[in-house]
Symmetry: C2
DNA sequence: TAATAAAAAGAATTTTATTCAGCAAACAAA
DNA sequence: TTTGTTTGCTGAATAAAATTCTTTTTATTA
């Protein structure tokens, strides 16, 4: 399942990360390669799960999801901790689920329309999940940056 | 600058969020509309900043960015707090910067290759930013979910 | 070095993007 | 209501891109 990325692959990743809707011909032009060759590389990158998905980033305020919060969730270790994470991930308002070090268990990222919706999510969804002992909520007042663009190196050794 | 989204817009957003590389003809087919009409809508959504960007999601492990952490950053309130957020956002390893409630100041999301790189980032970049008083780091052991897909409603009132 | 495999180029064909004219519904103002 | 205006759609024409396949080149390795 190993796959070594060369400079061309990394360039492709960089361009696709910046603009996932760039067309194949444009990619090929920028790389100085034939479109067919580039297409093959892209398909291979998808197949090897280097390129995981292409997402449009939607403005949350435009669809009335003005509230962002992070919630630390302490989990009963005796209950299946693995399972708890999966259940959290199934909640649509939950955008991210991270298993964290320390005794907190999980940290999740949640978007809701407002604080009322957050409270009802916690009451109706979170608290019903097996193994959830307690929660601590961090309220985001303002987001300064939120592109999840990774640093793509020039080359990998 | 207001813009009310109808059901068709919301369908477009949903499809684009799921697969940003869907082509315009396919969109049109699914919507039962002419490609030209759909194209116009997409352009308008971009122009109105409802569609903010299109990102390829790259597998972090494939490019050797195995470590994920969140850092709480306490900021001297007397120094320009606004400014501090911007400076944090400029660090490429910093994927997200959130201004949070309470006395912590900011919470940032950081990806590095390993813990060494994290430490050096904190020493070389974070600590040099004006106004940063202290930091508290949360280490992510494992990520269960990390698509930042919002809930797109059927309709908006 | 010859054989084999992998990657790229190039060409042909299908599909898509893009532009634009024309039409109809919605809207606003008189 | 009437008129003029705007908005959003269709449909057609053309340019551009995607996709497939064959050939060629480059790398790999036995």
């Amino acid at each position: 399942m190993e796959y070594k990325l060369d400079e061309i692959d990394l360039k492709i990743l960089r361009m696709m990360q910046d603009n996932a809707r760039i067309n194949n011909s444009e990619l090929a032009r920028e790389l100085g390669m034939a479109p067919s060759a580039v297409l093959e590389r892209v398909k291979k990158l998808e197949q090897k799960e280097v390129l995981l998905a292409y997402h449009a980033r939607v403005n949350p305020t435009a669809i009335d999801q003005k509230m962002l919060s992070f919630i630390f969730i302490k989990v009963d270790e005796i209950i299946g901790d693995e399972e708890t994470g999966k259940l959290l991930a199934e909640i649509p308002e939950v955008l991210e689920v991270h298993d964290i070090a320390g005794d907190d268990g999980y940290m999740i990222k949640v978007r809701t329309s407002d604080s009322l919706a957050l409270v009802s999510l916690m009451r109706n969804s979170l608290s019903k999940i097996q193994g959830v002992i307690s929660t601590r909520t961090i309220i985001v007042l303002q987001t300064v940056k939120e592109d999840n663009k990774l640093i793509i190196p020039e080359k990998l050794d």
